[in-house]
């Protein structure tokens, strides 16, 4: 499925009264998506069920961000991030994602829950150039893993310059710009 969709410059906006919900198992395979997901991404339920969540990953997203996300989730900690996602028709939408590990009734780690809200456009404008630079770092580094490390190191520098930590930075960006507009 992945790779069949060609990205194009058309943005779709999420409604501020809605959020996208999706769930995956431990392998990252989608087990549930809500109707908002289907409406905005134009994927039908049967098209995404049991598919890897990266089916909606946009080529403009740096790999380093996902690497950081997995490191957080592995430590059973929630992850916040601004994410550009791909629709089935190649258009895209920005979200402010919150991904948390999910536990079953026995308290066993059974999957992940992702809740995505509409991000303030000012926050997206701040994050865009950082992601672009990260992508270009990753593109210019032949070793994939090394590229992710370097792009993350660049992000850390940007954070240090702003005298902030990653999670504080992304949450503050959301709050300071009035949450969803």
């Amino acid at each position: 499925m992945r790779g069949q969709v060609v990205a194009r410059e058309e943005q779709v906006l999420l409604d501020q009264d809605e959020f996208i919900v999706s769930k995956t198992n431990l392998k990252g395979e989608i087990t549930y998506v809500n109707r908002t997901f289907m409406e905005i991404s134009l994927f039908a339920e049967h098209q995404v069920m049991r598919q890897n969540h990266n089916i909606i990953r946009h080529p403009d997203m740096p790999r380093g961000v996902y690497r950081m996300m997995w490191e957080q989730l592995k430590q059973r900690q929630e992850f916040f991030g601004y994410v550009k996602n791909l629709c089935s028709d190649g258009s895209y939408y920005w979200v402010f994602a919150n991904i948390t590990p999910e536990f079953d009734e026995q308290g066993k780690h059974c999957g992940f829950l992702s809740v995505r809200r509409k991000p303030p456009s000012a926050a997206v404008e701040v994050i865009k150039p950082i992601y672009q630079k990260m992508c270009s770092i990753e593109a210019s580094t032949p070793n994939k893993k090394r590229g992710e490390e370097l792009s993350l190191a660049y992000f850390e520098e940007e954070l240090a310059e702003r005298n902030s930590l990653y999670q504080h930075f992304v949450i503050d960006l959301f709050q300071e710009n009035g949450g969803a507009e």
């Binding site: 959020f19 919900v21 809500n34 069920m49 929630e78 009734e105 509409k118 949450i171 949450g179 969803a180």
Partner: protein, 498 residues
């Protein structure tokens, strides 16, 4: 609590299963009944009118329809089962389950989606609440909840939680600041009292030393006075000696004049004796010429000659004596003159000495004055430090009930306090004549009274009752007021005495 709630839910669930016949069973029975009735009708027509293919076909269609209906119904029921399962889990506190694959199930599918989205909202709401409180429990208030996109009550609930988190954050900061301030204050007073006690000791030492200086100055003063008397005596004796020497010198010069008059008289006597001798010689020549008649005269002339000779000899001897006398007188005169010169020099020295002793006397008197002023000043400072230490002990005792030493010192009677002991003792000796001294007693009594009252209020329920805490603070404010009056009066007293 959780387990209790769970068990009650389970019992309810079991109850529902036992009392209400399941829809699926009902449908199975209904379909079975319709098929059986159809079968019976077919058997009846077959027996009464013989085999009828049309009726047989109708029966087949009926049974197939029953099976199809049952199967279709079963799909709905399976979805409803899933919905039921999600709700049961939700009742047990598990919000993670969803119903999927409900496309084409009509109303049942719609219910399933509404349930899914209701669960999405609930799960997100509780996730938000749980997570932010997990952070808050670690004193991290950087993670707010995100009320956007949640509906109605849940949204406003998260907004309230965000405001509560902000308030908690402020509170935590306030509590920490309070804790810090009070700890700092404790450190401060502990050291302040120690420092002040050090100053107290220093001042005591300075006071003692100034006392010594004062004593020395007084001693200096009296010894300078004694020295002046001795020098005056010496000066008087010296001038007496000078007078005596001058007098003696005058007597000697008179003697000298007399001795030169004697010398003149002696030379007259010597020349008379010489002329007498010459006359006697002439007389003896004339007597010889007279012969016998002149014999008696010759004897007299010889006698006169011998007398003249003896006179001359005696006069010469006297002249010799007078000469050596005159020499000695000259020596005495020279010595007397030297003596006068020395004495006048000594007099000059004594005059200088007298001047410097007068200066010394004056500075010794000044030193005594300064020492006394310094003593009054340090006594004033010392008494002020005593009061400050008393107040610090009161603060310390009030803020920490375990500081028994400070509490005991705070509850002391005003007469027995260090300041009281000074005021009714040594201070009274030095300052009792000043006006300000009398104005000190009342504020000092007030100072002790307010502190005693503040400590009495600590026996009441000050932890719960804010009015008691305020009353304690009021007493302390009054204590500070009395202290200000008191300190000012001490300054005035020291100035006045100077």
């Amino acid at each position: 609590m959780v387990t209790k709630r769970k068990s009650s839910r389970i019992s309810k669930k079991q109850k529902s299963y036992t009392n209400i016949p399941l829809l699926r069973t009902q449908v199975a029975w209904a379909m079975g009944l319709i098929s059986t009735i159809g079968g019976a009708m077919f058997a009846y027509t077959w027996l009464s009118t013989g085999f009828n293919l049309l009726v047989c076909l109708g029966l087949m269609i009926l049974i197939a329809l029953c099976l199809l209906t049952y199967q279709r119904f079963n799909t709905y029921l399976m979805t409803l089962d899933l919905v039921n399962g999600v709700l049961i889990k939700a009742n047990q506190g598990q919000l993670g389950s969803r119903v999927t694959g409900t496309k084409g199930l009509g109303e049942v599918g719609k219910i399933a989606w509404e349930l899914n989205e209701f669960m999405d909202i609930l799960e997100n709401y509780f996730n938000e609440v749980n997570t932010c409180f997990e952070y808050a429990a670690r004193n991290d208030f950087s993670r707010p909840t995100f009320p956007t996109a949640l509906p109605g009550l849940l949204k406003s609930s998260l907004e309230h939680i965000n405001r509560s988190l902000d308030a908690m954050h402020d509170n935590v900061q306030f509590i920490s600041r309070n804790e810090l301030t009070s700890k700092l204050y404790l450190h401060n007073t502990e050291h302040l009292i120690k420092d002040l006690q050090g100053s107290q000791m220093d001042l005591n030492r300075v006071n003692e030393q100034i006392n010594q200086v004062g004593l020395l100055a007084v001693e200096n003063n009296s010894s300078a006075k004694n020295t002046k008397i001795a020098v005056d005596n010496i000066s008087y004796s010296l001038s007496t000696i000078t007078d005596n020497v001058t007098e003696a010198s005058e007597v000697v010069s008179v003697l000298n004049q007399d001795s030169s008059a004697i010398s003149k008289a002696l030379s007259t006597i010597t020349s008379i004796a010489d002329q007498t001798n010459l006359l006697a010689l002439n007389a003896s020549i004339e007597a010889a010429r007279a012969g016998v008649h002149g014999r008696g005269f010759a004897v007299v002339a010889d006698e006169v000659k011998a007398l003249a000779l003896r006179t001359k000899e005696t006069a010469d001897e006297i002249a010799l004596i007078i000469g050596s006398f005159s020499e000695r007188v000259n020596t005495i005169t020279a010595q007397a003159e030297q003596s006068i010169e020395l004495t006048s020099k000594a007099n000059g020295l004594i005059d200088d000495m007298q001047t410097s002793i007068s200066t010394l006397l004056h500075t010794a008197e000044q030193t005594t004055g300064f020492a006394a002023a310094a003593k009054r000043q340090t006594a004033g400072s010392l008494s002020k430090v005593d009061l400050i230490v008393y107040k610090q002990n009161a603060y310390r005792g009030l803020s920490n009930s375990e500081e028994q030493g400070s509490i005991d010192l705070s509850l002391i009677d005003h007469r027995d306090s260090l300041f009281g002991q000074w005021y009714y003792g040594e201070g009274s000796d030095t300052f009792s004549e000043t006006q300000a001294f009398a104005q000190i007693e009342q504020p000092h009594i007030n100072l002790h009274q307010t502190v005693h009252q503040a400590f009495a209020m600590l026996q009441q329920d000050w932890q719960q009752d804010k009015s008691v805490r305020n009353a304690i603070i009021d007493e302390i404010a009054q204590m500070e007021q009395s202290s200000d009056t008191l300190l000012q009066a001490i300054d005035e007293m020291v100035l006045e005495q100077a």
